[in-house]
C-alpha cells in the first residue's frame, strides 16, 4: 500500500520537473536568436577590432598580420591629420548638437500649442528625419554647388561672399557645410523627443501657476524647464555621442576634404579602412575613439549620480 503510494508520487513528480525545465528555458529560447546574432556580428568583431589595433593588418599585403605592439599608437601620436580630426570632431559634435537642440526646442514649443493644421505642419517639419542620411548629404552638397544649387548665388547676392563659390571647397569654412546638413536633418529628432516630454507635463500645473499670477516667461522657467531638464540632459548627452560617431554626411559631402579640413575621427577611421585598406591603423584610431567615448560616458554617469544625490 505504501509502496504504491510512493511510486505514484514518484511518477507525478517526474513530469513536472521536465515541464519546469521547459518553462524555465522559455525566455532564453526567445532571446537566443537575437542574442547570438548580436554576439557574432557585433561583439566578436569588436574584440577582433581591438586586436587589430596591435597588429599590422593591411588588406592588400598578404604578408601582414604580425604583432606590432604599440606601433600604431606611436604613429598616431604624431599624426597631424588625426589631431585635426579630433579638433574637428569637437566642432562637428558641439555645433551640430547645440544648433539641433536650440532649433528643436523652439520647434517643439511651437508645436506644443494647438492650432489648425498642426498634424500636417508636424508631418512636414519632421520629414527631413525620414530622408536617408546619404541623400541628405548629397542634397545639401548640391545645394552648395554653384552649378545647380541656389545657396552660393544667394550668399553672393547678399554680399556674404565675393563670388558664388562652393562652401564645401573653402578650407576655412568647409566644416560648416556638413554641420548645416546635419542640423537640417537632426532638428526633428530633438523636436519629437522634446515635444513628447512637453506634452507629458500636466496641464493643470500651468493653470495653477496662472492662478498664482505667473506670466508666460515665468511659467516656462518655473514649470516647463524643470520638467524638461531630465529629457534634455539625457538626449543631449546621448546624441552627442551618436553625432560624434556619425560620419555619413561627411563621407558623402566632402570625403574629409578639402585637405582633411572636414575629417572627423569616425570618418578618418572609415577612410583608413575603406580607401587605404589599412585595417590595423584604422582599428588603432577606433580604440582611441572608444576610450574617449567611454571616458565621456563615465563622466555622464558620474554627473548623473551626483545630480541624483543632490536631488
Amino acid at each position: 500500500m505504501s509502496l504504491v503510494a510512493s511510486s505514484s508520487r514518484h511518477i507525478s513528480g517526474q513530469r513536472p520537473l521536465l515541464q519546469r525545465l521547459a518553462m524555465a528555458s522559455e525566455p532564453y529560447l526567445y532571446v537566443a536568436p537575437a542574442l547570438i546574432l548580436i554576439v557574432a556580428v557585433m561583439l566578436v568583431p569588436l574584440v577582433l577590432g581591438l586586436s587589430y589595433a596591435f597588429r599590422d593588418v593591411r588588406l592588400l599585403n598578404p604578408f601582414s598580420g604580425g604583432f606590432v605592439g604599440l606601433d600604431h599608437f606611436r604613429v598616431l601620436a604624431s599624426d597631424v591629420a588625426f589631431a585635426r580630426a579630433l579638433k574637428n570632431t569637437l566642432l562637428w559634435a558641439g555645433a551640430s548638437v547645440s544648433l539641433q537642440f536650440t532649433f528643436g526646442l523652439i520647434l517643439a514649443l511651437l508645436l506644443d500649442r494647438p492650432f489648425r493644421g498642426r498634424a500636417i505642419a508636424q508631418a512636414l517639419v519632421f520629414l527631413p528625419w525620414a530622408v536617408p542620411s546619404f541623400l541628405s548629404g548629397l542634397n545639401w552638397a548640391w545645394m552648395f554647388n554653384p552649378v545647380v544649387g541656389p545657396l552660393p548665388h544667394w550668399a553672393f547676392a547678399l554680399g556674404l561672399t565675393s563670388a558664388p563659390t562652393n562652401l564645401l571647397s573653402d578650407p576655412t569654412m568647409a566644416m560648416w557645410g556638413p554641420i548645416i546638413a546635419n542640423v537640417w536633418w537632426g532638428i526633428p529628432f530633438f523636436a519629437i523627443t522634446l515635444l513628447a516630454a512637453l506634452q507629458a507635463i500636466p496641464r493643470d500645473l500651468y493653470e495653477a501657476a496662472s492662478i498664482d499670477g505667473a506670466n508666460a516667461v515665468q511659467r516656462f522657467l518655473s514649470i516647463t524647464l524643470p520638467f524638461l531638464a531630465p529629457t534634455i540632459a539625457i538626449t543631449v548627452l546621448l546624441r552627442t555621442v551618436w553625432i560624434a560617431n556619425f560620419a555619413d554626411l561627411i563621407i558623402v559631402m566632402t570625403n574629409g576634404g578639402p585637405a582633411d579640413r572636414t575629417q572627423i575621427v569616425a570618418s578618418y577611421i572609415f577612410t583608413q579602412a575603406f580607401r587605404r585598406l589599412d585595417f590595423g591603423y584604422a582599428s588603432a584610431i577606433a580604440v582611441v575613439l572608444l576610450v574617449l567615448l567611454m571616458t565621456y560616458s563615465l563622466l555622464i554617469v558620474l554627473l548623473r549620480q551626483s545630480l541624483l544625490r543632490r536631488a
Binding site: 507525478s12 513530469r15 513536472p16 515541464q19 519546469r20
Partner: protein, 368 residues
C-alpha cells in the same frame, strides 16, 4: 462544480514570504470571500488557485485532483479580473465565446451558451459591440458572462467591482449574489471591501500578512472576531478598542480602564459560555484590549452609565456617529436615533457587558 482544497500553501518571491502556509477547504458550491488589506496575499492566493502563480510549497486540489503543475487551461476554472481583461479586438459575443471556441465546442452549443448568459446579464443588445464602446458596468457584465458560459468547476473573482462607482458596485453585488444563488457554483472572491465580504460570502477568510486570521460565516466574524485584526477589519464604523487591565476575584471579573473606570465582565463571560471559574485562566492583572462596536453602545441608558463628552457629530442619514471622550479614552458610538446633542455636551453612555470583546493586548488573540 467542485471542491477546492488548499493545503499548506506558501508563496515566496526570493526571500520575501507572501503566504505563510494557508490551509483551507472550500466546499462544493460554496461562496468564499478572501478579504484583507492590500498586500495581504489574497490576490496571490487566488492567482495560485487559477494557476497564474507558481506554488512555492503546499498543494492545491480541485475536486480532489492535485493541480499544482497543471497550466490554467487544464484547471477548468473561470476568472473575472479587476480590469475585466476583455479582449479589445473581439466583440462581446466573441469575447464570451472564446473559451468555448478554444475547446472546439459545436456552433449551436456556443450560440445557446452565449445567448443564455447574455439574457441572464442583459447583454443581448450589445453582442456585436467591442469593449471600447461599452460602459464600465457593461464591461463588468461581459467579464461575468465570459465566465458563466464556460460552466466551469469554479469561479474566481479578483476584486471585480472595485473599478465601478458606488451605485453600480452595489447593484452588481446584488446580481453576483443572485447569480450564485441560481448557479450555486463554487466561487472564490477576493476583495478588500468588508461590505462585499459580509454580503456575499457563505464563509469569509480574513487574511493579513499572508496568514489566515479567521475563517467563518460573516456573522461569526462580526460576532466573535478571533483577534484584534478581524475585529478592526469587519464592521463600519470600526470597533472601538480600549486598553485596560483584566481583574478577577472568586466572585466576578472586570476590566480596569484608564483613570479608575471599571467595566464589569460578568455577562460577557456568560455569553461566551465560560464559567467564571474557567475564565480565571486569564491571569489577574493581564493587559487586555477591550473592543465594543459603536452600534452596541447605549446612549442615555439612565442609570449606571458613564458621563462622556461629545467631540464630534457625524450624521449619516441612517443614524448618527458620535465621537465621544471618556476620561482619556476616545471612542465612537453609532445610534439609529437622530441626535440633538451638540459638541461639548455631556452624555450618559453604557457599554453593555454582553457586547464586550476582550483580546490579549500583546498578541491580539481573543480571550473572551
Amino acid at each position: 462544480m467542485a471542491s477546492i482544497d488548499i493545503v499548506g500553501i506558501r508563496k515566496a518571491y526570493g526571500a520575501l514570504q507572501i503566504l505563510h502556509g494557508i490551509d483551507l477547504t472550500i466546499r462544493d458550491g460554496e461562496f468564499i470571500v478572501l478579504v484583507g488589506p492590500s498586500g495581504c496575499g489574497k490576490s496571490t492566493l487566488l492567482r495560485m488557485i487559477a494557476g497564474l502563480e507558481d506554488i512555492s510549497a503546499g498543494e492545491i486540489r480541485i475536486d480532489g485532483r492535485r493541480v499544482n503543475d497543471l497550466p490554467p487551461r487544464d484547471r477548468d476554472i473561470a476568472m473575472v479580473f479587476q480590469s475585466y481583461a476583455l479582449y479589445p479586438h473581439m466583440t462581446v459575443a466573441e469575447n464570451m465565446s472564446y473559451s468555448l471556441r478554444l475547446r472546439k465546442t459545436g456552433r449551436e452549443k456556443i450560440a445557446a451558451a452565449i445567448d443564455g448568459a447574455a439574457s441572464i446579464l442583459g447583454l443581448n443588445t450589445l453582442m456585436e459591440r467591442r469593449p471600447k464602446a461599452l460602459s464600465g458596468g457593461q464591461r463588468q457584465r461581459v467579464a461575468m458572462g465570459r465566465a458563466i458560459v464556460r460552466a466551469p468547476k469554479a469561479f474566481l473573482f479578483d476584486e471585480p467591482l472595485s473599478n465601478l462607482d458606488a451605485r453600480l458596485r452595489e447593484q452588481m453585488r446584488g446580481e453576483i449574489k443572485k447569480l450564485h444563488h441560481s448557479l450555486s457554483a463554487t466561487s472564490v472572491y477576493v476583495t478588500h471591501d468588508q461590505i462585499e465580504a459580509m454580503t456575499l460570502a457563505d464563509r469569509i477568510v480574513a487574511l493579513n500578512g499572508g496568514v489566515v486570521q479567521q475563517v467563518g460565516t460573516p456573522l461569526d466574524l462580526y460576532d466573535r472576531p478571533a483577534n484584534l485584526f478581524v475585529a478592526g477589519f469587519i464592521g463600519s464604523p470600526a470597533m472601538n478598542m480600549i486598553e485596560g487591565r483584566y481583574r478577577s476575584d472568586r466572585v466576578s471579573a472586570w476590566v480596569e480602564l484608564a483613570e479608575g473606570l471599571i467595566l464589569p465582565l460578568h455577562k460577557t463571560l456568560q455569553r461566551a459560555g465560560i464559567d467564571e471559574e474557567e475564565a480565571a485562566d486569564v491571569e489577574d492583572g493581564a493587559a487586555v484590549t477591550i473592543g465594543i462596536r459603536p452600534e452596541h453602545i447605549f446612549l442615555d441608558p439612565g442609570v449606571g452609565g458613564f458621563e462622556a463628552t461629545v467631540e464630534l457629530i457625524e450624521p449619516t442619514g441612517l443614524g448618527t456617529i458620535l465621537h465621544l471622550r471618556l476620561g482619556g479614552v476616545s471612542f465612537k458610538a453609532f445610534s439609529l436615533e437622530r441626535s440633538d446633542a451638540a459638541i461639548g455636551d455631556r452624555l450618559s453612555v453604557s457599554l453593555p457587558p454582553e457586547r464586550l470583546h476582550a483580546f490579549d493586548a500583546a498578541d491580539g488573540v481573543r480571550l473572551i
